[in-house]
């Protein structure tokens, strides 16, 4: 077998809050841990300080970037998934939820740029840094280069959001073999170990998006019947709700408007997230926070009150569920199994709602939660990667037939939409339309393509305006331009055109007017990927040493931090031992030894890192630091926060 055919294909869950990479280990999908031993890489990207010697500052991703959120918030970004494939207007609307800066001189129609420190990045570039980190984690794990991947996206992502995700993959040096819808991926992960017949519903409530998909399983074929969702509904909204309540109460009871202290708002949000998580297992949760004026804000939230608060929000998932059932032509009773995906499905009220929607307990059934809801999507991506690689007997018989979530239409006379591909059509799907000219000698025709279910073009998501150029000049109405719209297996639109009257097929140029051009993507490809394979182990070693150097520098600074004195003498000694071990092994070229020493040092300093975070958070509440965070946030700050504990205990 040729080397290329044996190369591993990884599955990646590029999430709003956390990202993961997984692969097929024989017949089982397995998540690949990062250097710190954790399966979850927080989707946070930070720009290190500008090097004194000039040049570009380095970029860090994940837990270390999360720490920078406290110290240099203006150089950090999280939840960038919300900005993927969005135009300037849509991103401006999101800014309400984001304490981040947009480069000011961007024109309408251009891809927005985010200002981080002295540099600016497009959302796909930020995502590319996250993907590169996952790629490196996998390469370190395998000891070989990894160049091919399957990446998951919310089922309800539109064309532009999908294209942006693919662009990010390319910038990270990954050949993206397939985009897979997140709920479908989850079904694949579950489908491995259970009976292969029946109808299942996947309810996926994540950090920022909600998806529902209904699938029919038949002899290894996973045929999606319908999908629906809401790309602005998730755990973030619950956090915002709790935060708003707390802010209001603090103002009413203590006369303190925390909104004047964005850093304090961020810290209060962390407390809100902690409370939300505790309420999934406990009957009540407490807020106990010291305010800038020295007062304490103390509050107990019983679960019943929490459930009353979030009820209207959770009910918004019912509509998409009912629509998906109707589109599949099914009643709740015809759903054999329900699978829960996404961290927010840990909330008991969510489970109760799902139980009611699909009449589960009435039928003596329980939803499936056996697989970790934070990992199941990545595991499914690995299964799809296995299918594409043709690498395992288990996946050889499996085939995923997915659908397009939104109808595709073109703008007709009077601003109405002529629908050409209906939502929930199995993809790839195609449609052919004919166009002509309205003026003698006209050589251009513009086509406005839309995605959405509304009757008027103005109410649908404008996907692209295509210009058909190079039509041979003829009398008005004489040219007959055949345009073929094809939605590929990634859910991305391809358009091709030919003029039939003159037969000049290849003369018609089709030019989309959104997203990044090929040349732009090419120029944004992250440096240092094009190492030849023989350089690979040397590169891994260099990367590991760089990483070790960064950790050691941080450890050297540690004793200056007040939190250091809170450590016991034993803890301080253990850190010193782990530090000396790492100093020793980075002289050598044993990659494994370096990795192990880094993991050991990371473990030894974990308690210190937590203490440092807590100290930073409480000083932020007292308004001493982080005042710069979110300067541009408006009155109702409602940023999703990246400081949520990555794991639940």
């Amino acid at each position: 077998m040729a080397e290329a055919e044996r190369a591993v294909v990884v599955g990646i869950d590029l999430g709003t809050t956390n990202s993961l990479v997984a692969y097929m280990e024989g017949d089982r999908p397995v998540v690949i841990p990062g250097v710190d031993g954790s399966n979850l890489v927080p989707s946070v990207v930070a720009l290190d300080p500008m090097p004194a010697s000039g040049g570009r500052p380095t970029v860090t991703v994940g837990n270390s970037a999360r720490k920078a959120l406290i110290e240099t918030p203006e150089r950090v970004i999280y939840s960038v998934k919300r900005l993927m494939g969005r135009d300037l207007e849509e991103v401006r609307a999101e800014l309400k939820f984001f304490p981040f800066r947009l480069a000011g001189d961007i024109e309408a129609g251009e891809v927005p740029r985010i200002q981080l420190g002295e540099l600016r990045f497009t959302p796909p570039e930020i995502s590319a840094y996250i993907l590169r980190q996952l790629k490196r984690n996998a390469e370190r794990f395998f000891g070989t280069p990894v160049a091919q991947a399957v990446i998951t996206v919310p089922a309800y992502f539109n064309d532009a959001q999908r294209q942006a995700t693919k662009d990010a993959g390319r910038m990270a040096g990954l050949d993206v073999l397939r985009l897979v819808n997140e709920p479908t991926a989850a079904a694949l992960a579950y489908g491995l170990d259970r009976a292969k017949e029946g109808t299942i519903a996947v309810y996926d409530l994540g950090g920022g998006t909600f998806d529902i998909s209904i699938l029919k399983l038949c002899d290894g074929i996973f045929e999606v019947q319908s999908t629906n969702g809401d790309t602005h509904l998730g755990g973030d909204d619950i956090d915002n709700l709790l935060l708003t309540v707390a802010l209001d109460e603090i103002y009413a009871e203590h006369g303190v408007d925390l909104r004047a202290h964005p850093g304090a708002v961020q810290a209060l949000r962390k407390a809100a997230i902690d409370a939300k998580i505790r309420l999934s297992t406990e009957r009540a949760a407490q807020f106990d926070i010291e305010l800038p004026n020295g007062d304490r804000y103390q509050r107990e939230i019983p679960r019943a009150v929490f459930e009353l608060l979030v009820e209207p929000m959770l009910k918004r998932t019912a509509g998409p569920c009912k629509q998906a059932l109707a589109d599949a032509g099914m009643t709740p009773e015809q759903i054999d199994e329900v699978v829960l995906v996404g961290g927010s499905t840990r909330i008991p009220a969510v489970r109760a709602l799902v139980d009611d929607l699909f009449r589960l307990s009435a039928r003596g059934k329980k939803p499936h939660t056996e697989l970790n809801p934070d990992e199941v999507v990545a595991l499914g991506a690995a299964v799809q990667a296995g299918i594409l690689a043709g690498a395992s007997k288990t996946t050889d018989d499996m085939l995923l037939l997915d659908v397009t979530p939104l109808s595709l239409g073109i703008e007709a006379l009077g601003g109405t939409v002529a629908r050409i591909i209906q939502r929930n059509s199995t993809i790839p799907a195609s449609a052919t339309e004919h166009f002509t000219t309205g003026v003698d000698g006209q050589t251009n025709v513009a086509i406005h393509v839309l995605q959405g279910e509304r009757e008027l073009a103005a109410d649908c998501r404008s996907l692209a305006r295509f210009d058909l150029k190079g039509i041979p000049p003829m009398a008005a109405g004489l040219p007959r331009i055949e345009v073929r719209f094809l939605i590929d297996a990634d859910g991305i639109l391809q358009v091709s055109a030919r003029e039939q009257r003159s037969g000049k097929a290849s003369q018609i140029e089709v030019k989309p007017t959104y997203g990044l051009t090929d040349e732009q993507v090419e120029n944004m490809i992250l440096d240092s990927f094009d190492h030849a394979e023989e350089d690979f182990s040397r590169r891994l070693l260099i990367e590991a040493r760089n990483e070790a150097d960064a950790i050691l520098a941080a450890v050297r600074r540690a004793p200056q931090n007040p939190a250091w004195n809170e450590l016991s003498a034993e803890e301080q000694a253990a850190i010193a031992v782990a530090r000396d071990r790492l100093v020793l092994v980075i002289q050598g070229s044993d990659l494994n030894a370096i990795s192990q020493a880094m993991v050991a040092l990371d473990k030894a300093t974990r308690h210190f890192a937590e203490l440092m975070m807590d100290a930073a958070v409480s000083s932020a509440i007292r308004g001493k630091t982080m005042n710069d965070a979110g300067k541009e946030v408006d009155e109702t700050v409602t940023a999703p926060h990246a400081m949520a504990p990555a794991e639940f205990k």
Partner: protein, 231 residues
């Protein structure tokens, strides 16, 4: 994301050069995937145009063909094979979507047979035009449109009119019944078309064109009433 359409459809296999039927998606000799055929949706499933179809067999064949044609099976194939797999699968999916639905199947066959379909019947603006209303329903449609207008006014004013609602519900039931009757008539014509000679087919064709128009008109009415009642 853009591709230019290639016009040529080789009849000789690109891989082994053995000549084959243009509508075959795989070379009968070397089993390699072929560029999309110029055949109709029926030929994708190896069927001749017909209206009564065994839906279970159709689904089985759809799954069988998906397993061998789907782009997932060609992730590591040549660029050409990848592109053909994409085009072939799109054709397969379009064909399956059309043939599994009774109404879409009928409309597709009528179009294939060159029957002129009246697309404007679906147009909202044209619907109240009296000449578009099926002659036997003139009076009922007139009444219904009046009631729909009254209901809209009532909603706008925030008023409830249980009597009007009751009457609309009744009308909805009646029109749904009429849709059912059209479906029944259509099925009868299917049998005639499938089994008949050229002359019988021609007669059935005309009957079906009229029935499909009528059905479209009626289901648009039902949709309107449902929308108003569901508000």
């Amino acid at each position: 994301m853009l591709k230019v359409v290639e016009n040529a459809v080789p009849v000789a296999c690109w891989s082994c050069s053995v000549a084959h039927n243009e509508s075959t998606l795989f070379c009968p000799d070397c089993s390699k995937i072929q560029p999309p055929s110029s055949g109709d949706y029926f030929s994708v499933f190896g069927l001749t145009p017909r209206l009564n179809i065994d839906l279970l067999a159709l689904e089985r064949e759809f799954h069988r063909l998906s397993r061998s044609l789907h782009p997932d099976r060609f992730a590591r194939a040549s660029e050409n094979e990848k592109e053909w797999s994409l085009a072939d699968t799109a054709l397969l999916n379009d064909a399956y979507r059309t043939l599994k639905d009774p109404l879409r199947r009928t409309e597709y066959l009528l179009k294939l047979q060159g029957a002129e379909m009246d697309a404007s019947a679906a147009d909202d603006k044209d619907r109240k035009n009296p000449s578009r209303v099926p002659a036997d329903l003139l009076e009922e449609v007139f009444d219904l449109n009046m009631q729909l207008e009254e209901m809209r006014m009532a909603w706008k004013m925030g008023q409830e009119d249980p009597e009007l609602k009751e009457s609309l519900l009744k009308a909805k039931g009646k029109f749904e019944g009429l849709v059912g009757a059209v479906d029944c008539d259509l099925r009868a014509q299917w049998a005639i078309w499938d089994a008949g000679d050229a002359a019988a087919r021609q007669t059935a064709l005309h009957a079906m064109v009229a029935l499909v128009d009528r059905r479209r008109y009626l289901s648009n009415l039902v949709r309107d009433v449902t929308a108003i009642l569901g508000d």
